[in-house]
């Protein structure tokens, strides 16, 4: 019975998101399913947590049955509407198959898939058995989940002085933190009927599966061959920091990183193909990010910047104007929303920042070879990055600038010096950067192996294989 309710809790919101997104896609029987499945996970989180917030706001106590019934109703509605109304948004080529493969190494895809499946099993084992362990997970995230699931509503979390003044509400070490992650944990707890601080973290595992599905699906849709797409997926999911955040689940950083990576992939796809459905994916991700963690506001802003640059940034002047506008709007929003938090990081870091940063990027195995390979990928793919992926590049550059400014110009640099937050912050951008870099390498390889180096690839989704070439090229 417990396995059944856990299955329902994990899959029902996911199914709602997937069905609605699939409904918006082309109804062609050859429409790839993996994309709505991947992004449906994010959509499901958004729908479920909005529902829980709405019920709390109107004073209705949650119950697993009520929430499930509403989700089932949404699921049925999604199926019905999808079958009648669908096919509204352009969803691209239903056959996203690469005909040219500069890396025709089937063994690579097979090996990556095997390692990936093994990794997921390994991580699942940890999530299932290990009670909540890392510090912030039980001082500022699961605290809220425990209270809300016990009270069946979102009791307010207030700050220390308000609590001492006997105002109604609870307090923990980060009362102002966004609610989506603890709401997911509370949902799992409602399903179980008890607070099991190992099983409430299962959504971290399903998020990982959704991330893998999304990366693979989007890479394939970008006409990356199956073996390289699988390798990219494996590479992203093999990052030790990412894996650790699944195994020792309970922090919101994995959510931010996964959502941002999926958003960047959809932005990249939209830039190339202008498919409406990619905009829907992007909007869901942008909406979700600020509800996950405080820096999510900035990550959402970087995506918005990328979107605007992709849509309107045809000249340098326009790109500069868009960047300045978004930066100003973000700065104002962040100051208005998180003034207290900003005060705590204003100032200069006390310790050395550069050496610890170097250690964490290049010496330790936090990221395998990501930070060695990324500059190479950018060096060989910079033309594509600038001309064909201007918006995505703008998003990632803005993301790195944000991280640099945070650590170099504020007291948050101390968290680099003591190895505490630096990798968690990088986790927000690392999967996205990896996937983007790997796509650039792929496109560079095609250009190098097949097409004359002097030929510019056309903008848009017109592939390299104008001729229908079915035979792989390569040694």
């Amino acid at each position: 019975m417990e396995i059944f309710v856990l299955g329902v809790a994990l899959l029902l919101p996911w199914a709602v998101g997937a069905v609605w997104l699939h409904a918006l896609q082309s109804g062609s029987p050859r429409t790839p399913l993996l994309q709505p499945i991947a992004y449906g996970h994010l959509g499901g989180i958004l729908v479920l947590t909005l529902l829980m917030r709405a019920m709390s706001a109107i004073g209705v106590r949650w119950s697993f049955m009520t929430l499930s019934l509403i989700l089932v109703a949404l699921l049925v509605a999604g199926i019905a509407i999808g079958s009648r109304l669908g096919h509204k948004l352009k969803s691209g080529d239903p056959r996203p198959v690469a005909h040219i493969d500069p890396f025709p190494w089937r063994w690579l895809g097979i090996m990556a898939a095997i390692l990936l499946v093994f990794r997921m099993g390994n991580l699942a084992y940890e999530v299932l058995l290990q009670p909540i362990y890392p510090w912030d997970a039980w001082t500022q995230w699961a605290t809220k989940a425990k209270v809300w699931s016990a009270l069946h509503t979102m009791a307010p979390f207030i700050d220390y002085s308000q609590w001492l003044a006997r105002q109604p509400g609870y307090v923990d070490t980060a009362s102002h933190y966004p609610a989506t992650v603890p709401l997911m944990q509370a949902w799992m707890s409602l399903a179980l009927g008890r607070f099991d601080d190992a099983l409430i973290n299962l959504p971290w595992l399903t998020l990982c599966v959704a991330l893998a599905a999304g990366i693979y699906a989007q890479a394939r849709a970008l006409r990356v061959a199956a073996s390289w797409a699988m390798f990219i997926t494996y590479a992203a999911l093999s990052l030790p920091m990412l894996d650790t955040h699944v195994a020792l689940a309970g922090y919101a950083d994995l959510y931010v990183g996964a959502v941002f990576a999926l958003a960047v992939m959809s932005l990249l796809r939209w830039e190339r193909s202008r498919e409406g459905i990619q905009l829907v994916y992007l909007v869901i991700s942008i909406a979700l990010l600020p509800t996950l963690k405080v820096p999510g506001v900035v990550w959402a802003a970087t995506l918005l910047l990328g979107l605007l640059v992709a849509a309107f940034g045809r000249t340098r002047g326009r790109v500069a104007a868009i960047t300045l506008s978004i930066a100003a709007a973000t700065a104002v929003s962040v100051v208005a929303l998180f003034r207290g938090k900003l005060v705590s990081v204003t100032g200069q870091a006390q310790g050395e920042v550069v050496q610890p940063l170097f250690d964490n990027l290049f010496l330790f195995d936090n990221w395998h070879l990501l930070w060695y390979v990324l500059p190479i990928a950018l060096a060989i793919g910079w033309r594509d990055a600038i001309h064909r992926s201007r918006g995505t590049s703008a998003t990632l550059v803005a993301g790195f600038v944000f991280l640099w400014a945070t650590f170099a110009l504020t007291r948050a640099g101390n968290w680099v010096a003591d190895y505490s937050t630096v990798n968690r912050a990088l986790l927000h951008i690392a999967p996205a950067a990896l996937v983007f870099g790997a796509v650039l390498v792929w496109e560079w390889a095609i250009r190098r192996e097949v097409v004359s180096p002097i030929v510019e690839l056309p903008i848009g989704d017109q592939p390299y294989a104008a001729a229908s070439i079915s035979k792989p090229v390569g040694p």
Partner: protein, 410 residues
């Protein structure tokens, strides 16, 4: 014909064998089977490791060569607990974190700075620390120290070439031991030897393979083996990959060809997978630890396994005394961990687990939970909580103990 059309024509020529009349001439790509690139990368990596091992492990000057059986070690003074000799070994009991010093009784010798030390011991209790201590003739007033490397519960060879103080003439050498456990440590033998390439290689491999299990730092950093290493694996494999790519690029250029992408991509992929296989091994070992600790246990039993037993027992007892309806609780301890962790267990009670100091904020009906708290005691006769600065609050004891308890303010 546009450039794009030229490209398409060229592409047709390559793939379909269709003649490309106006296609521009491209430099030929030297085809390369992935195996060749993989072999080149592997050879390069092994060469790099070999050169590192030989350059740092081969020394013409003889260094230290000392062997002492446990029974030959001389306890230094002052020692709170005197070690005892049992047969060939020497037994060191609990030291309460005050170091016991065991002198090797050597003749002075000169070292080139590249020796290693190995101590054979019984399995070490958790928290035990061993160090090599020595005095140089040029600096007789200072005892130098090198903490010895451990792999879980046993000592492994510690190379001294990383310690700048291990140089010149050494006049005295000893082993220092700190052990918080009641389980005695048995020392069988201490050896000081000159480093060799084999020892250096073994040390590097041990560092790379080191498995420490999850700890408080794991969520923030993955060292990839031991925290401090002679050389970390990621830069080494990256260097091997880049050397292969650059070499083949240069060779191709000299032959007026373009190097195939395999020369760049395969070494990077192989490097990535090598690092990941090591990480996978760590995860498998971790799964074994997790299984041993938690499999087949209830959630409460798993928490009891994770926690300090007396703390968890106390929290369980406190929870059993609290009403079902959430109440207002102030949690406190001298230690952040216990205060916050107690707070976590107490939710959904309305708990304040910050470090607050003023008892004046407590009101009648509030609860106070304290664990490992030194400056508050409960005066049973007066039914009062008494702070070390003399402030007092009337209270009812629900759970009580030394430095800990659950109280309701009256």
């Amino acid at each position: 014909m546009s450039a794009f059309e030229c490209g398409v024509a060229r592409l047709k020529a390559i793939v379909l064998g269709v003649p490309a009349t106006d296609a521009p001439e491209l430099p030929a790509i030297s085809p390369v089977p992935p195996r060749a690139a993989l072999t080149a990368w592997l050879a390069c990596l092994l060469l790099l490791i070999a050169s590192l091992v030989v350059t740092s492990g081969w020394h013409p000057d003889p260094g230290a060569y000392v062997t002492r059986a446990g029974r030959e070690l001389v306890p230094g003074s002052p020692a709170t607990v005197q070690p005892r000799v049992r047969g060939d070994v020497i037994e060191v009991a609990k030291t309460d974190n005050r170091p016991i010093v065991l002198n090797l009784g050597i003749r002075p010798f000169r070292t080139a700075g590249s020796d290693y030390v190995m101590v054979d011991t019984s399995p070490l209790p958790v928290g035990t620390e061993l160090a090599l201590l020595w005095i140089r003739r040029s600096d007789p007033g200072h005892v130098q120290e090198q903490v010895l490397k451990l792999d879980r519960d046993h000592v492994v060879p510690t190379l001294l070439d990383g310690n700048p103080e291990w140089r010149g003439e050494i006049t005295s050498v000893a082993i220092g031991i700190k052990s918080p456990s009641d389980t005695p440590v048995l020392i069988g033998e201490v050896r000081l030897r000159p480093e060799s390439p084999r020892v250096v290689l073994a040390d590097m491999l041990r560092d790379w393979k080191y498995f420490g299990g999850w700890d408080g730092r794991s969520i923030n950093v993955a060292f990839g083996g031991r925290d401090e290493q002679r050389i970390y694996l990621p830069p080494l494999v990256a260097l091997a990959a880049f050397l292969v790519a650059c070499t083949m690029g240069l060779v191709a250029r000299r032959r007026r060809r373009r190097a195939a992408v395999a020369w760049i991509v395969i070494p990077i992929v192989a490097s990535w997978m090598l690092l990941d296989l090591r990480w996978q091994r760590q995860l498998i070992l971790q799964a074994g630890e997790t299984r041993a600790a938690f499999a087949g246990k209830t959630l409460a039993e798993r928490h009891a396994t994770m926690e300090n037993p007396s703390f968890f027992e106390f929290v369980e007892a406190a929870l059993s005394q609290l009403p079902a309806k959430p109440v207002r609780i102030f949690a406190t301890s001298d230690f952040d961990y216990f205060r916050l962790r107690a707070g976590y267990y107490l939710y959904p009670h309305n708990v304040l687990a910050f470090d607050w100091a003023d008892p004046g904020i407590l009101r009648s009906g509030d609860y106070l939970l304290m664990f490992a708290k030194s400056d508050v005691r409960f005066d049973e006769s007066a039914a009062m909580l008494v702070w070390s600065d003399g402030r007092r609050l009337p209270a009812r004891a629900l759970v009580k103990g030394s430095g800990q308890g659950l109280y309701q303010i009256r």
